[in-house]
Symmetry: C2
DNA sequence: CAGTGTGAAGTTGTTCACAGCA
DNA sequence: TGCTGTGAACAACTTCACACTG
């Protein structure tokens, strides 16, 4: 059904998912002034197999020293570049509720290459306010700002019922990628990238493990 | 390395991840008073293969009617039971910062079987306050409350640097499962369940798709 | 030896093909 | 014909095995 003709699938998705954790670990080691780290160390920290780590790292440009491991500072540099955390992407956030403001407050996003330049809502209580220095506009102002700012990414933190409506607006206004935090799936044209991120999948997994315990 | 001797792996993890989305969709149809839904409909909504949907649903107890599909109300019931969303689990939340308060505000968690009964922090500005009717205590009070309340789950929303310290506390205080929202991985005894949920993995995936576009 | 790096084997998850049904 | 349900074929990911290096 979903034909992916492109041979673009060089790096397995699970590998990309693991890499930010490697990066976080390496950054910690860097602060502690550790010079080298081996795949075995990383693997033990992540509770996974060590060959998994070497395989994952082999997709990047880094080369390790035999018997010594990978240079920590190089690892940080290579991983953050590989993951696209070094180039700043601007984003709009729609839905300045509790989850939306949590994202606005999260400095980690800033460090990892995502800058939220404006927020939108329909609630007049929040419109006009600033959350962590980001101004909240009425959603009708989206169009004007989008043209001025040439923003590629939209963050969707509205209630599930409104997700499709807002997604349609984002597409109409020229957004290229949507980070969807609602449990609902949105329909968009093929060339628009969607990343679904829902808490409840993780909750389901957790419950599943918890209940299947003896 | 990780020997899983148990044959407990009946349901594939990806299936469990998809199910909450099926549930959300079915709940929407229920509100619209649609009686039946076919796997093809669900598949088109999710942009996946329809056999995937039937396979996933075959792990639950539901049986579909030929040519008609699955009864929507039954689907909602079966899925929410299967996912453990019908039994209420109590949880403590540690780290009442922006992400922590977002979770406290999220009524979806309540609907899906998770009740946060108390929150903890070290910041004296928030201690003593109530966030969405949940009181915030100083972390030192954790022990007393844990004994009283017999809570099984701990939600970890502290800064990454403190994650291990707080995780150790949770374990010492008898928590059985930890929902870890920090990018750091925590070390816990084998019998403790950990579910890692990090935004940055999703951000990495999104960037990867965005940058590999032509 | 303890580590990297990689092709081959094994496992898990997805898609295909088709039987059965109304 | 349009759908469920399932065993078989296929693809993706992980783990193993081993060559290589200081």
């Amino acid at each position: 059904m979903t034909k992916n003709e492109k041979i673009k699938k060089l790096v397995p998705e699970p590998s990309i998912r693991r890499m930010p954790a490697y990066l976080a670990y390496a950054e910690g080691l860097l602060r502690k002034k550790q010079m080298y780290v081996s795949s075995t160390q990383i693997a033990s920290y992540m509770s996974i197999d060590s060959t998994q780590v070497t395989k994952d790292l082999s997709y990047t440009s880094i080369v390790g020293k035999t018997r010594v491991g990978y240079e920590v500072s190089a690892l940080v540099k290579v991983l953050s570049e590989f993951l696209g955390f070094t180039v700043m992407d601007d984003a709009f956030l729609v839905g300045a509720g509790s989850l939306g403001s949590a994202l606005l407050h999260d400095s980690g996003l800033n460090n990892f290459g995502l800058k939220i330049v404006a927020a939108f809502d329909v609630n007049h209580k929040t419109i006009g306010k600033k959350i962590n220095d980001v101004e909240v506009f009425h959603i009708d102002q989206f169009r004007d700002l989008a043209q001025d700012m040439n923003v590629q990414m939209g963050i969707l933190t509205v209630p599930a019922e409104n997700s499709q409506t807002v997604a349609d607006l984002m597409v109409a206004w020229g957004i290229k990628a949507i980070w969807n935090f609602t449990p609902a799936r949105i329909k968009v044209p093929d060339d628009i990238i969607v990343q679904n991120t829902t808490l409840y999948s993780n909750l389901a997994l957790l419950f599943n493990k918890l209940h299947n315990e003896e």
